[in-house]
Amino acid sequence: MTLLRAENLYRTFPAAGGFARRKRVRAVTDISLTMYENETLGLVGESGSGKSTLGRLLIGLDQPDSGTVYYRGQDLSQLKGQDKKRVRTEMQIVFQDPWASLNPRKRIYDILSAPLLYHNYATKADVGTKVAALLEKVGLSPESSERYPHEFSGGQRQRIGIARALSLNPAVIVCDEPVSALDVSIQAQILNLLQELQDEYNLTLLFISHGLASIKYLSDRIAVMYLGRIVEIAGAEKLFSSTYHPYTRALIMSSPVPDPYRRQEPEALLSGEIPSNIDPPSGCHFHPRCPLAEDSCRREIPQLTPVPDDLTHLVACPIALAGGGL
């Protein structure tokens, strides 16, 4: 069942000062995307590729310049009053930085009880029990509610952020790089927690990361972004077993494999820097770094097209499509 559908989303921001004052950063360009109920969609791409902006657009935290997001068939931008308030509770976000995303002056109790009371999910009488239950859900003791954010480690704060996102029984949670600020030994704890919670509450997750390994671990499908566009989208296993887009291939080849016997070789590495998204390259944005680039790539913007044997696997590269997957 389709839960969220984005159609032709565009979002630009004014570029920072100086000579570029009139220019705009193209964060998201012509993105159409569907999220199905209970799935985890992974969103991977390099910094500045528009992942976080897309995540925020999908749950109405930010408005597109043009294009529409439909949630359960309703246009998000047309929602008013009670409907809007209700839909807002169903869409939550977990931020990357567990230090910046919790108010340092509030106790955990205040942080978790505020949304419950505001949206009438609890009364003054039973809010304490509900907060305690939330904390237990994310693996923290109920006594932690009396403490302040600075008394917790990064991993524990991320658990509090997850508890806050869960408090209003959401349908969708955007997890924006939820583990990249955490130590490696803690990352696995949080990834496992997200997986458990999804199973228990039938959540739909958008999991944003620049690391392919954690994306693969958690996702059912994965979308790969490059300079504001989706270049490939496929089932999580499929993306790795039959990779089409040359950028996806480069990402996979560049992820350091924890095996000293298998060294990355220079021929597999991409050359060139990531271009600016203020003035992205013409045609296919990837063409200046692409080993497959032909003349037509400089002119034509490739559209997402299904691969021959799998209608759910889309690739924006006619040359890779003609050549077949890896």
């Binding site: 390099e46 999580a236 560049s254």
Partner: protein, 363 residues
């Protein structure tokens, strides 16, 4: 075959301890750290934040914050103990014989001088040549680190470059004085993976080409596998394992190393693999713990682990660990290794890399 002098350590650190003044009095944040880096070797230091890896590097360069000090130990580099040098003597080594590249290139490059200016200065600090000759060398260096348009970059300022290019410029600057050792502290952690892979590959090649040693500090196990020859694993202010990279991945000797390897997802994994999380968190006041500092999170803990301070002891020819149970041969996973096999694998990997490099430089 290896040239003579290869087994000479370039850097030899013995019994290093570092303490910091805090509101609670003086705390020992690193202790009992001994390791060496051989010529042309990449030594990886892996550990989580707060494990002591960065302060180890900073202490070698005399760059500890004012509240910190080396409270014990020696660091021998080219016949001198770095910790006994005067600031002036240290100036002759820092940035010249030992160069450092950091995570944040923007703060390490001088914003008011051009990239060319800064590299030329580095070159002329150790070579008596004209400015024009130095500029020519600077352009060659920039081209060697992968800058497409070196002559243009010479005249640019740090803020005009992208993150990856800045990192390259910083490496070119570090190379300018032909250092014997480069310390790279999380040098690519803020870069995207495709750029990180390029920079790391570059460092690997340069180390081979110039017989330069690298001290690579990272939290990324994948980078360790790709880059390091030897590895030290740090936990809560101590080195807990010291081994070569092949042994590390095949037969880790310390329960923390083993747990760390199992906690890292890999793109090679089966999707159904369960990630083994390490329970709990790194203890904050670890210097107050009298026994093993990992005991609270260890799957193999026994009462005796908490009784006394753990010491580093060899398990065999290629592994040293700080774990009494491993040392007593009580842990099943610490199966005996073939140190010889690792040694051969290491030598072969290096030889292959050298062959590939010379082929690449020919074409």
């Amino acid at each position: 075959m290896m040239a003579t002098g290869h087994n000479e350590p370039v850097l030899s650190v013995r019994d290093l301890a570092i303490s910091f003044k805090t509101e609670q009095g003086e705390r020992i944040l690193l202790r009992d750290a001994s390791f060496e880096v051989k010529r042309g070797e990449v030594l990886g230091i892996v550990g989580e934040s707060g494990s002591g890896k960065s302060i180890t590097a900073l202490s070698l360069m005399g760059l500890l914050p004012v509240s910190g000090r080396v409270s014990h130990g020696e660091a021998w580099f080219e016949g001198q103990d770095l910790f006994t040098l005067s600031p002036r003597q240290l100036d002759r080594i820092r940035g010249k014989r030992i160069a450092m590249i950091f995570q944040d290139a923007l703060t390490s490059l001088n914003p008011v001088f051009t990239i060319g200016n800064q590299i030329v200065e580095g070159i002329r600090a150790h070579q008596d040549i004209s400015k024009a000759q130095a500029t020519q060398q600077a352009a060659q260096l920039l081209s060697r680190v992968g800058m497409a348009d070196p002559d243009n970059v010479l005249g640019q300022y740090a803020h005009m470059l992208s993150g990856g290019m800045r990192q390259r410029a910083m490496i070119a600057m570090a190379l300018a004085s032909e250092p014997a050792l480069i310390i790279a502290d999380e040098a690519t952690s803020s870069l995207d993976v495709t750029i990180q892979a390029q920079i790391m590959h570059l460092l690997r090649e340069l180390s081979l080409e110039r017989d330069m040693s690298v001290l690579l500090i990272t939290h990324d196990i994948g980078l360790i596998a790709q880059m390091a020859d030897k590895v030290i694993v740090m936990y809560a202010g101590e080195i807990v394992e010291n081994t070569d990279v092949f042994t590390l991945f095949e037969a880790p000797g310390h329960p923390y190393t083993r747990a760390l390897l199992e906690t890292v997802p890999s793109i090679e994994d089966d999707k159904d693999r369960e990630l083994q999380a390490i329970p709990g968190v790194v203890p904050e006041d670890y210097d107050a713990i009298s026994g093993c500092r990992f005991a609270g999170r260890c799957a193999y803990v026994e009462p005796k682990c908490r009784e006394s301070r753990q010491i580093m002891l060899p398990l065999d020819k290629c592994r040293q660990v700080r774990c009494i149970r491993a040392q007593n041969n009580e842990l099943e996973f610490v199966h005996s290794t073939q140190c010889e096999a690792s040694k051969i694998a290491l030598a072969r990997r290096k030889q292959e890399a050298k062959a590939k490099l010379s082929e690449r430089l020919r074409t």
